[in-house]
Amino acid sequence: MGEEDVKYVEITYRGIFQKRLAKYVAEGLVYMARDMGKSAVSFGRYGDSPERNGVPAKYYVAVGNVSEEDLIGYSTRVEPEYVDVIAVLDDTLLKGVESWAWQGVQPINLKLRKDGAMIVTSRKPMEEMVKLTPSKDFQWTLGKLNWDRSFSGLWAFNDDTTMERVWGAIAKVRPDIVDIQHVVSYVKSHKKDKLNERLKAVEEAYEGLVIKTMNPGEGVEFKYAPPRLLTWQEMMEGTAIPAVPRGGRNEQFKRGTTKTERPTVDFDACIKCDLCWVYCPDECFDKTPDGYYDIAYDYCVGCGICAEVCPVKNCIVMVDEKRLPDYTRPYGMWKANKVEYKKWLQNARAEVRERPIVPGLGR
């Protein structure tokens, strides 16, 4: 008996928009594992609280073949050292997670254990998902839950069977943590309304989960070095820190991974009205010598206000974050080759979706 008998499920989600969903997914897993005779606890990564709209956040479930007391002992942590299953509730999170200053953008599967599994809620074909997924130097399992990301506002829970699907998918890849029988029996005993719909969702996810074995090195190379934090001798005293130099930005905390969408600009349509710049709460627009605005995508959080206030139709359009590989700024591309840029823009805008946020209804 030891820590190897403890399995961790990491649920990575979008702050606030999926707060309830993540908590409910974790809660269900705890009850199911207990029904299976195991000990189980859940905990949010405390540093993510208070959550901010869109900022990546994490929730954990620990399941053990150890006593409940020992399990609590292993789990009294900010976050586990390793995780066995990662459930990613929004596929744009595949591009990385930056939650706190100095920690940098971490790969989504940073803590995945050898032979572990990661399930991603996504409508993307598996081969495209692989292109977004960081490689590991061991073999592991990637699962695709073919389903839209489920968002809601703070006061709402978007009860759209995403929760049931995540349970079904986990049962498929790791029956040692929760098996399908216990998922079904939990749903039956805890959820009285829309029971058939819920059970069908569990089954669909279980049967329909697209699974791929990821070989060592397969996926994209994701450079991540854990930060070297300053020693107390190196830090300024009195809780003081240097200000941002004039003309600069916060280099140690960029938070571009907050966004699920990013604004694309058609510079040919731009009338230089300045409104995008004025209304940006994240200071992402940099004025160019000829009066346009370039965008610092690494700092953009994708709120969409610029697209909303832009008076020209289709000048600024929000597009799915997954469609663009990096944070290359648009102005330079446009200046370099306007024809190519137009093509690039059309491609980026090929699928533009309604934003899925469900407000209100919280009781």
């Binding site: 709209n53 703070l154 200000a243 003309g247 600069g248 938070r255 300045d274």
Partner: protein
Amino acid sequence: MTENELEKEERMYKSIIKTIKQAPLEEFYTSGHRTCQGCESALLMRYLAKISGERTIVVGATGCMYVANTTYYTTSWVVPWVHTQLGGSGGAALGTAAALRALMRKGKIKEEPINVIVFCGDLGCADMGLSGVSNAMTYDYNLLIILYDNESSANTDIQETSMTPYGAQTSFSRPGTARRIMKRRWKKNVVPMIIAGHRNVRYAATTSPAYPLDTLNKIKKALSAGGPTFIHSLDPCPKGWDYDPMYSHELGTLAVETGIWPLYEYIDGKIVYNEPTKGIVEGRIKRKPVREYLEKQGRFSHFVEEDYDYFQKMVDEMYEKWEIPGVMPIRSVELARK
């Protein structure tokens, strides 16, 4: 003051920035803050730093704009910035301004104008910090206190404060099966409290980041007015108000257009209305129904007809019954008889 003088003064103030093109490009509060998508309070921070410029000290009380804006060992502030405790805004403003005055008078630092701006949220200004803010307003130090009002204790995941609007859902006022409306008290009216109670305040204003030019100018006017000044900004909060972050700007304007949030400034004993509020008070613009504003926010999703009606009635009174429309809930007996 004659009509002419009043116009002159108004013109002088208006001349500060005429178009947004004149707004300084440089940011003194910059990217890399852990605020929500579409955070209007962050936008307010950006405006206040931008317009006050490099010779400024900013102090921030505990709240979202503290916790989210600075994640140690980093910051998003270019100008010097200091944290103050939740109820410490008034003291922090006085201490900073008094130190500058004493050190300059005694020749210990260079004599020059340095802006002192202290921001605080609902709790830090209107609840816990109220007595301190009031005290700061009684002295003659040059300081500006800004209330950034997102109508809840947003940093602790949205609890009711005295600034939460009637009926809104918060973690302290969740509608239940026995009681639909848990927040039954009406929102505090802070600027009138400041101007009525503190004779030496020469400038105070309400504002909204949805009106950037108005906001930038008001901050600039406050800083140039001298003495203690006060600004109350209503900042739509996508997290707590529960709407898609892209609608922040729209909700800011709707708050004004429905008359719920009147924009005005107090200048040396006079009230000047701004932006659509001016037209509303003068009867040129019809107020939009409050429903248009309330329905767009999840925090009012439990409202039924009678709640909308009550809200509308309370807002109507502001313009139909108050002697100084939208500002003070008073009416002299003499006027009432007319």
